[in-house]
């Protein structure tokens, strides 16, 4: 079955530290890739997405992600985190041969210490 793995469930960083959250998926066919973020008390919202083109995607609030097809990965990065980045981050993948429905990773809770 198609699956999405996020490597860390909890990450704690100090402000200004660099962030990289790992995401791998199980399937080698055509995919669309997403990162969603859920800030405390807020809706789940889209951070960035990749459908095609440049594999380095830039999203809101200084986040970016790189699609590496050979590694089945779509890692999320930010060079310098802020306290306001404290949230839960979800990687999601839609697999074309799975009817393009979204499959979510388990999520990574990021806590940024001020």
């Amino acid at each position: 079955a198609q699956s999405v793995s996020q490597h860390n469930h909890h990450v704690i960083l100090s402000e200004a530290a660099s962030l990289e959250l790992g995401c791998n998926y199980s399937y080698g066919g055509t995919v669309n890739l997403f990162w969603y973020v859920q800030y405390p008390g807020q809706h789940l919202q889209l951070l960035l997405k990749y459908f095609s083109g440049d594999p380095l995607v830039k999203g809101i609030k200084g986040f970016e992600a790189e699609f590496i097809k050979s590694k089945f990965s779509f890692n999320l990065r930010k060079p310098s985190v802020q306290w306001s980045d404290t949230a839960e981050y979800f990687c999601a993948v839609s697999f074309m041969e799975y009817g393009n429905k979204l499959v979510f990773g388990a999520g990574t809770i990021l806590r940024v210490k001020s």
Binding site: H9, N32, F34, H43, L44, N100, L102, F104, A106, G107
Partner: protein, 113 residues
């Protein structure tokens, strides 16, 4: 602009009671609609999706059902709740094609006692 509403925000129900959670979308026509359950440490699990009025696809066998009586209304139901139905339920919508970006509602937290 499009908005998505869910109610109630929180619900406490006894085991064996019925359930009805409602989701409505404004500002778009013929959206795809989705129900997810979010469990801590397990991400979001797709329960149902709908590509049109009266068209429901179920992803996992369970005690729940879904209906779409109107274009922008999606309802999650149960005839008799189980303890295991407790959780956080999210509704989402996307434009026409499955695989497009999904936009999520605020969610309903359900506690079955």
């Amino acid at each position: 602009s499009q908005t998505i509403h869910q109610w109630p925000a929180t619900l406490v129900q006894p085991v064996g009671s019925p359930l009805s959670l409602e989701c409505t979308v404004e500002g778009t026509s013929n959206p795809n609609l989705y129900w997810y359950r979010q469990a801590a440490g397990r991400g979001l699990q797709l329960l149902f999706y709908s590509v049109g009025i009266g068209q429901i696809s179920s992803e996992v066998p369970q005690n729940l059902s879904a209906s779409r009586p109107q274009d922008r209304q999606f309802i999650l139901s149960s005839k008799k709740l189980l303890l295991s139905d407790s959780g956080f339920y999210l509704c989402a919508w996307s434009i026409s094609h499955i695989g497009e970006t999904q936009y999520f509602g605020p969610g309903t937290r359900l506690l079955v006692l």
